[in-house]
Each structure stands twice: as C-alpha cells, then as structure tokens.
C-alpha cells in the first residue's frame, strides 16, 4: 500500500522534503500522549502485520519499533538473524519474499550493508522502513533527534546543532545532517579528521577540530557513540586520548556561553565521548530522545499504512 504523503517506504531523510519531515514530526506530537495512558494502545493499525527483520543486533531500536507497532495495535513478528534461515544461506530477498507469501503488510529492516533497505523495498510490495542500513541512514533516529531538538529549541531554522564524533561511519550522523539541513538548521561537525568524511568541507557544514570551539558555537550537541572497534582500525590512538581531546565534560560545558542541549543516540560509552555527569546532567535530553523515538516511529508507521491517495485527499474535506 502506498501512503499519500510518504510513498511506499521510508528509506532515508535524504529523499524526503522539508514538508514531509515536518508532517511526520507534527503527527508524532499528539501520539506522545498515548504512551502516558493507562491503556497504551489505539486501534489505528489493527489487523496489520509488521515484520521486524534484524540482520544486526539491536536492542533499543528494535524494542522502540515494537512498542510503536503494538501501541498502534499491529501484529508483530521479530526475525533475528541468528536462528533464522539467513544463517543457512538464504538471501535477503528470499527471506522477505517468504515472509510476504505469508501476507504481511510492512517490513522494518536493520542491515549491515548500506542500501539494503532500498534493495529490499524495490523487490517486495510491502512497505519498508529502514531501521539502519550500514553507514547509509537511520531515518527514524534522525527524526526522533529532530523532534527532540524541536521540543527544546523550537523551530530549527537557524539553530546551531553540532554532531560530534565518528561522522564517517555513522548512519545516525548522515540522517541528522540531511534532516537538519532540510529544516534550515546550521550544522556543525566535530571530531578527529580521520573520522570525518573527506568531502566534509563541501557539505555546507562548519567543521570544528576542537570540542571547545564546538561548545562555544552550538546550541545543541548530538554526541555520537564512538565504535570501540575504530581504535583497532587505527582511526584514533586510544580511548583516553579521544576523551582528552573530544570528550564532552562538565568542565568544558561550564565554559559555554549558554546552556547546551545534550543528545546521544545511545548506547553511550561513559567516560569516552561523554562524561557521566554530562549524560545525567540537567541539560541532557537523552531519555527524552528514547521517549520520542516511540512517538516518531508510531507516526511513520501510521502514515505509511495509508490507503489510496485520491481517497485520502477526499477525506480531508
């Protein structure tokens, strides 16, 4: 089924318009309240079957999607790689086609290869939601970050947001970059040059080589998780060195000219990219991000579940 507002799939923020992004955020806003109810459930997606197809381990994203699906009354099936036919050599498309033959409506896919979500979306009729593909995009994380920023900073036009850390390997960074630019925010990046894309200077972002400069400039920091295996890859000398130069610490924030909204997509390496007293501090909105994640995913699923566009137009009247 095709959504009149989002099309068939949600694969990345790169292909969405500012208007579509705003529509998702505006739809998520009233959905927050459902999670506060005693009965945390509405019947909007009753009878729909959604498969969560996870080729990479994930705890919070999978759980967040599952909560979103259940709170909209969809039926859900979780397929994890270990123990599935995938480990017996079945291809991604075979797996999905077999699931489709059992009459499903949507697939939420997490995969280690960039472009896997698009590859699948082009080959099956069900709606596909990208829950993270390689180093490409993680659109629902981008959207929940935008919603959280909007909650705390208001309209994002002209707001200064700095993405800190391993931008090169981060699908979260990429989705954030696209989303922030489309909503008119000014974007900064801060991290070791070895962990920034080569063409970063041409992306219309401000590059900070020192975290102190980023803190002077920014109204919000989105601090990415440092993948510990990057150290073995030779991208950074040591974790302690990384923390010394790029760690967001209380002392550094105390010298900021304003209160800075602190975000982190999780899971955190406390004491590496972020210190505990910052993560748990008064300006941290890290748990708000988690709460907003459920609302944003509900909005995406709800909008994708739509029927025929021409009738939806008529329904607005």
């Amino acid at each position: 089924m095709n959504s009149p507002v989002l099309g068939k799939d949600l694969l990345g923020l790169e292909e969405l318009s500012a208007e579509q992004i705003r529509l998702i955020l505006d739809t998520a806003e009233p959905l927050k309240e459902i999670s506060e109810r005693t009965i945390k459930k509405v019947p909007a997606l009753r009878g729909m079957t959604i498969v969560n197809l996870f080729f990479e381990p994930s705890t919070r994203t999978r759980i967040s999607f599952e909560f979103a699906e259940k709170r909209l009354s969809a039926d859900t099936v979780n397929v994890a790689v270990a123990g599935s036919s995938v480990s017996k050599g079945e291809t991604l498309v075979d797996t999905a086609r077999n699931l489709e033959a059992m009459k499903i409506d949507m697939v939420v896919i997490r995969h280690g290869s960039s472009g896997a979500a698009r590859f699948l979306a082009d080959r099956i009729e069900s709606n596909v939601v990208n829950a993270g593909d390689g180093t490409h995009e993680h659109p629902t994380q981008g959207l929940l970050d935008l919603l959280t920023l909007r909650d705390h900073l208001g309209d994002l036009k002209g707001k200064r947001v700095c993405i800190c850390g391993d931008v090169l390997h981060s699908r979260v960074a990429r989705s954030n970059l696209w989303g922030l630019k489309k909503l008119g925010a000014e974007v900064g990046v801060c991290g070791p040059r070895s962990l920034l894309p080569n063409a970063i200077d041409e992306m219309g972002v401000t590059v900070f080589d020192r975290i102190e400069e980023a803190i002077q400039w920014a109204e919000a920091l989105n601090i990415l998780r440092l993948q510990l295996e990057r150290m073995q890859g030779g991208y950074i000398p040591s974790l302690r060195e990384y923390n010394r130069v790029f760690g967001v610490t209380r002392e550094r924030l105390d010298r900021a000219p304003r209160d800075i909204v602190i975000m982190h997509p999780g899971p955190m390496n406390r004491g590496v990219e972020i210190d505990s007293d910052v993560a748990d501090g008064p300006h941290s909105v890290i748990l708000d991000q988690v709460t907003n994640g459920v609302a944003v995913r509900m909005a995406v699923l709800y909008l994708l579940a739509g029927g025929r566009p021409e009738l939806a137009e008529a329904a607005k009247g």
């Binding site: 959504s3 739809t27 005693t38 509405v42 739509g306 029927g307 329904a315």
Partner: protein, 188 residues
C-alpha cells in the same frame, strides 16, 4: 431555506446570537440530565467539539458556580476507515484525566451525522476507564445515521440532503460564528 443552498449560496441555520442562546440552553439541559454537576466532565471532539464543550462548560460554571471538568478527544486513530480512505495526516491532541471511572461523561460535537465519529469516541473513552454514564450533546443533528446512535442534548435539528454540508463556524477558529448549510462541493 433549502432553495438558497441549492442555488449555491450558504443557508444560515443559526447566526451568532441564536447559537449563543442555543448553547446556553444545551448547558441547562446537560445539568438537568445529570441532576447537577457531580462527577461531570465535558469532552469535546477535535476540533470544533472542543470549543463548543468549552462554551457549554463556561455557561454551566456561570449558572452552577465552581468549575466543571473539560477534556479533549481526537478520534483519528480510532476511525474505522483507515484502510479505505487512508490516514488523516493531522492527528489532534487528546487530553483527558487518566481515569474516567465512575464519571458522568458528556461527549460534545458540532454535527451529528452518520454516528461513526461518536462510535469511535466511545471506543476511545473506554480505554480511559469505565464511566458511570456517557451522554452525547451536539449543536446540530442533521440526520443520516448509519449506526444506532442518538444524541441526548441537541441544539438544532436540520434536514440536510447528503449533497449538502452543515458547517459550524466558531469565532476563535473561523472568524465568523454560526451554523450554515452549503453544497458539498462548494467552498464553505
């Protein structure tokens, strides 16, 4: 009346002053229905029902003293037609006390037509508890029910054929205030 609407011009059913009088009478009838305001809560359906509930509640406060509870209900996610007509992108806010157990709930809406909105509203209310009683107050009952639902308090009954639209206008949202009938395709 119906001649005017057939020629494309809006027919005025209630002007601003008569709408005010009608809402005042509805407020009295709500209090009468429950023999007072104990455990009463007025729940408006987004969007115009919320404004109307506020008006009626203000009249009740004026007559009875005190402050009667108000709530807002968005029934978008409880509609039975998502699969056929697609999602309505704009989902409004629902704000209700966490529990409606034992309360006397009055659902307030602008126009009662097929009854499907009210059906959805009752489904949603049930997820907030078990009210002692649910009543329905509407400014306009235009007939055309598709479900066995009736209103307990009605502002005005009009007979409008299915090609006509009954619009309730509220000054806060629409500038004008009143109830008009316009052709469905025309700009209301």
């Amino acid at each position: 009346m119906s001649q005017g609407s057939q020629s494309g011009k809006p027919t005025v059913v209630l002007d601003a002053r008569s709408m005010g009088r009608t809402l005042r009478r509805m407020a009295d009838e709500v209090v009468e229905l429950f023999s007072g305001t104990d455990d009463l809560i007025l729940v408006g359906i987004q969007r115009r029902g919320v404004q109307l509930a506020e008006r009626i509640a203000a009249f009740i406060d004026e007559r009875e003293g005190g402050s009667v509870a108000r709530g807002a209900l968005d029934i978008t996610l409880y509609r039975d037609d998502l699969q056929t007509i697609g999602p309505r992108p704009v989902v409004g806010k629902t704000s209700l006390p966490l529990s409606l157990d034992g309360r006397n709930v009055v659902i307030v809406d602008d126009v009662l037509y097929t009854g499907r909105t009210v059906r959805a509203a009752m489904d949603e209310l049930a997820d907030f508890g078990r009210p002692a009683r649910i009543a329905l107050a509407v400014l306009v009952d235009r007939g055309g029910r598709e479900l066995p639902i009736h209103a307990d308090v009605v502002g005005k009954v009009v007979q409008a054929a299915s090609h006509l639209r009954v619009d309730v206008q509220i000054s806060d949202l629409d500038g004008d205030e009143g109830v008009i009938i316009v052709p469905r395709d025309g700009e209301g």
